[in-house]
Point group: D3
């Protein structure tokens, strides 16, 4: 069951960091995904690179991992979490004509790592854009979303439950 | 006219930062946008906050401005640019049922500020997600894209030209 | 009872980070405050903004929260602490003619969060200065101080105990 | 002559970064100061360290220099400036019973470096507090203020002009 | 016993952060060292400074401590660790004609702090280079290496065991 | 001709950032190198990865590029420079039995980019260590040094001139 109010706003509507001091640390996981749509001809350049050296995908993957660790310095009200694991998967998807990105983050903490997964996907996607923009400026990042999370009081959630 | 190859990859397909040492600094602008789709009931909570104190929108706007300045540390092959201006507009859009984000960035530099605009939108959108996720985990960030850029050798470009 | 020597200096007087490896993590809180003195006419501009959109105060509050998380990267000998909570309160105080700032920080750690509270206040105050300096360059930040701390071996302390 | 409105707020009262794109780069200087008041006995510990190895003062000086370079990432609406010079002076002042801090910053840019000087002083002061707090928790940072600035359209200003 | 494969690469050879979610936090220590070789005349300038105010050595020591805390943001696949202690020793070594650096790091975590020690030494060494390069550009950093580590499943290791 | 004193220390021997305000921006280049010595069997694992996906080398290259951009935040007295180009080359060297790293940095600035090149090599080397340490803890980073620099008042310098 979801809450009915924005926990990041106090009674007077001002932004605040949620106090997690009463919550024990527990194992938590979050998974998010995103898609970078591009022309088939651009995608082939990415894929060729991928076959040869994998660099567009490799750079995006690393950028995503590093961004996850920067999350509390990017999203103002996030907590600094001791991440146990960050995995960012970046793949050419010829059927949908673009690059799919999926990030998984795990930690043992008093609050979840959903934002780390979302930020990892967002910056990995921006990195794909950066590396391809000289060829196709109109590339579009689409559908950044949480797909699953587990742990904490609210338990397991998957997008399909919604 | 767009280039035919990925300038971020050298002849051997390895990632590299593009050398802009031969390019003079010139005024450049970039504008990007994004959309955060959410349930009408969540949007009303955001809007109510907005009417009272504006905080979800205000926090997202600031997060976007600050993220623009962090771009070279987030997107691995970006240059550090002396930004003259960053503006991030975050608005409730009841018609489309979500929050629209638009970032404008200006600099006088040897390379453009497209990535600063894209990153500002991406992190502003992630911040909207963060502040609303206790109410609706399924919120989706959609359509992060460049809408216009000017300056530099390639001149003026708008999405509608494409 | 306070210590008689500067624990940040070793026997030879060189700076060092204090080793907290033998101390268990325990709940700790710290509260600090500060004051930004300005002309009554400037304060009214801040207050008007505050009534309409609250932005000077809102921006300062966020800057303080984010700075608290950056403390170990700003104050050289501070530990990286897993903060459970950061709250920064920024208010117009017409009686004293200025803006009062108060920061509260909580963590469960082997060392206290006093510096996070002090840094949050300092940067929130600098942000108030930044946003008002086009109107009044002579604004002065005054009286940044710890007002209370609890937890750890030295227990509870308030300024009035001193 | 000072401006009559807060240039960091747009017409709707929302925070924004000021656009400096029409202003040429020109040499600018700013000088700020602050004072850290402490008990005479604490000051002697600092001074002794200073005579032997100078570390409290040396650490504070370095922390101030490094903080100046982080200013745009700490104060949300500041521009990233190419600083030509940062100097932070930290001295024992037995007469006033405390540590005086003065920071000078110079750059060639479209906007001034006042905030870099203010932030350098603020973090140097916080660092003095950090290194002395095990001995005296009630130490107070006082009177952080701009003392002089030159360059730019508004020209030369000193505190005494006010 | 050492592992036979690179745990930072997954089965397909892509970079990944190792998942430490199944490992309990335990006390860990790591010690690394390095050497900065320079001309005897340069070393005397460093030593004279050291005798008077200790600054080249003091700045290098602080830079090393701060770099240790930045390790996860510098080395892409490192975890963010809650460091209990960082000590960086920087000394003039007339016999070997250079500056020796040794860093010790301790934490209670699910993975070791070897990289924090290596990074602390590396940046302390680079800082010595920076402060002396106006006198001798050919200074060389040599022999950055782990000298000891303890804790975790693989237990105690010293260089001499190898 | 080299200077006879440490320009980073003022007359009283305290650390300071050199004032470059009187120096015009001019094109500058710097090149540095380093070597990571390892067992032949470890090198083959790196090389195999390199042949398949190139990841150890690719991750080190990216870490070096990103570290170059962080130099002023790592080396305390460095200026923030607008880098035009950073290139980091990381190669398996079977003859010397290790990985060679070379970084080239270019900027148009009032001071040189030597430190950016040194830091890029240092962090790329640390990253190679990180990715191989599960297989061979005793890997050693050797010979980080400037090999060439051009531009500025002191003109062109190569290691062989020394």
């Amino acid at each position: 069951m979801m809450k009915r109010k924005l926990t990041h706003l106090d009674r007077e509507g001002r932004a605040r960091m949620v106090d997690v001091g009463q919550k024990p640390a527990s194992p938590r996981r979050a998974r998010a995904s995103g898609f970078v749509r591009m022309a088939a001809s651009t995608l082939e350049l990415v894929a060729d690179g991928a076959l040869a050296k994998g660099d567009v995908l490799a750079v995006a993957r690393l950028a995503g991992i590093q961004a996850a660790k920067q999350t509390p310095h990017l999203v103002p009200l996030c907590h600094v979490l001791p991440l146990d694991h960050v995995d960012v998967d970046v793949r050419v998807d010829r059927e949908r004509c673009g690059v799919t990105i999926e990030a998984s983050v795990a930690c043992r903490a008093a609050t979840g790592a959903e934002m780390e997964a979302i930020v990892a996907v967002s910056i990995a996607a921006a990195t794909v854009y950066d590396m391809c923009k000289s060829v196709e400026r109109g590339i579009r990042v689409e559908e950044i979303e949480l797909i699953e999370k587990s742990g904490g009081r609210s338990g397991h959630w998957t997008r399909s439950d919604d």
